[in-house]
């Protein structure tokens, strides 16, 4: 699903430049649930941004579902993001003046899907995250866990190839974290490819594979025995 070869990225900091990614190579198969771990400054967020087409690589190859991702202008990047990727953020990033349903329907709006259809889809996805009854509520009326579930429904609504989650449990307490991970695992079991950036080992162990980054290179890439989150809920 994802092939990355010799990925380099550096940021200019005034006169000096900061070499963040120093040749990353890794592949992700369809249906994998990968945790990307690493301490602060290891380059894990940069990697996720490049995977999410929010940022471009300086060097190297990135192929997503047999489509080479390079030389994208903003418009094309937006189209690809919409088509291929679903994002889940640490701080949820729901639009605060839109109801849960409208938030979930937003990527469908940018796909140009007619209004009626959009709402049916969005409600279906809200139902799948167990929040059908909350569809008319604003984000401010939802708890943290509920917000993240709405965000996951939103990421799923556009039926992406890959789900990218940047510290999805970073702002949640343990119990809620496990509930969210349970949801992520269930989506993965349905066959969706998911990448989770986290620095919490217990969350990482709920994935099927852990990629450990340090100073811009992968120092460890191992398959793990998945801990089912439902066991902790």
């Amino acid at each position: 699903m994802i092939q990355i070869k010799n990925l380099h990225k550096s940021y200019k900091m005034g006169s000096s430049s900061l070499h963040v990614l120093k040749g990353i190579n890794f592949d992700v198969e369809e249906g994998e649930l990968v945790a990307i771990m690493g301490s602060s400054g290891s380059g894990k967020s940069t990697l996720l941004n490049i995977l999410g087409m929010l940022d471009g690589a300086d060097e190297g190859e990135y192929i997503l579902d047999q489509v080479p991702i390079k030389n994208l202008n903003e418009t094309k990047a937006a189209k690809y993001r919409n088509k291929f990727l679903g994002f889940v953020f640490q701080s949820f990033n729901l639009i605060n003046y839109k109801s849960a349903l409208e938030n979930v329907a937003l990527p469908l709006y940018y796909q140009g899907i007619p209004r009626k259809e959009r709402q049916v889809f969005a409600l279906e996805y809200l139902d799948r995250v167990g929040l059908k009854d909350w569809s008319t509520h604003l984000p401010s009326e939802l708890s943290g866990g509920q917000k993240q579930r709405v965000a996951i429904a939103r990421a799923m609504a556009s039926r992406p190839k890959v789900l990218l989650a940047d510290e999805p449990t970073g702002a949640l307490d343990t119990k809620t974290s496990y509930e969210v991970m349970d949801l992520i695992q269930k989506i993965n079991q349905e066959g969706k490819t998911i990448l989770v950036v986290t620095h919490e080992p217990d969350i990482a162990h709920m994935c099927k594979r852990i990629v450990l980054l340090k100073d811009g290179v992968i120092i460890e890439d191992k398959k793990v025995d998945q801990v089912l989150a439902s066991a902790h809920v």
Partner: protein, 425 residues
Amino acid sequence: MNSLKVLFDRDTWQEIFGSISKNKTRTVITVIGVLWGIFIYIALSGAAKGLDNGFERQFENIAMNSMFIWAQRTSIPYDGFKIGRNVELKLSDIDYLKKRVPEIQFIAPRNARGVFGGSVSPLVVRKNKSSNYNVYGDFPEYTKIATKKIYDGGRFINEEDIKYKRKVCVIGERTQTELFEKDENPIGQYVRIDNIYFQVIGIHKFVPGGGFESDGDIFIPFETYRQIYNSGDRVQWFTIAAYDDADVVAVEKDIKATLKRIHRVSPDDERAFGGFNLGEIFNKIMGFSKGMTLLSLIVGIATIIAGVIGIGNILLISVKERTKELGVRRALGATPAEVRNQIIIESVFLTVIAGILGIILGAFVLAGINAGTADLTDFPYTNPTVPIPFILGALFIMVFLGTLIGLIPAERAVSIKPIDALREE
């Protein structure tokens, strides 16, 4: 065009309503900025138009480019004549003037009793009622310069009256009420003017603003007047109308110069002939009211611009506040063009809504002014309106400026990289 499709898409509007209703207070205050601008524009230019109309109404019964010319005493000795000689206008001057001053369209010699000092108003008698009224000797041409509204069934003096020196007269509204019974039709009846019977042929409606004339004036044929009052070739004054495109000030000068030649008056004598140039005064007033219109236009448009800039400013702040939201939208697949369009449409939408509200409010105020001044006949203010092209022009300016000013926040919004917007603080 894709961008046109966006305009008619219900979803676009839903997005826009969503974002502008997010901060209602700010939206309202912003809208008030433009609303005030267009309101000022409408109210001012409507008021200027009202003044314009008012002046025009004041002058509606007299040709805009007309003048009166009369003779006085000389102030310079010339050609063997002493200073202080009385000069008199003659009927024969008309042909000279018409030949020498081709800009003259109509020229009407007039004589009158009771108007200027030296003659008394003749006594007019009808049965047992009588009163004194001014009496004018007129040619039919006079009505081509100063319109006389004659009531139904009557007429003004015509060529036949002049030719046969008929003893007919046109009386005023006041004359009618003073000399005749209420239910009586004066037309065809006789009145006695200085002991000579005249048949009434018409009643003129008095229109205010026509100089020294009044609602009691009686008009009789010039030739009849000449015979009765033995005025010979003498003419008290000329009422002259120049062609529409003529320069009335120059025409007046030419006429006076010609008269000086005819009557052997020094070309430098400024006092020998008097003149009252309505056209000149009218032009000054019209110039004033045009200036007012221009001023109101400039002030109004400047205020609109200030308001629209306010909208741009607010949207800029709004974009700044919504950095994160716009980043999320971009991450979810909004293209830069979609983000840009949304901000521009927001700007134009706010501008146009504000504009329409301002136009409505301005119209109400103008209607109020109109109702308040409707009964004031001596106040030059009539029917304050704003021409439709002005309104359409203002709307166009607003859409144009709204788009232009919306471009600034829109470009700002597009320049936000989703990665920066989403970065955790």
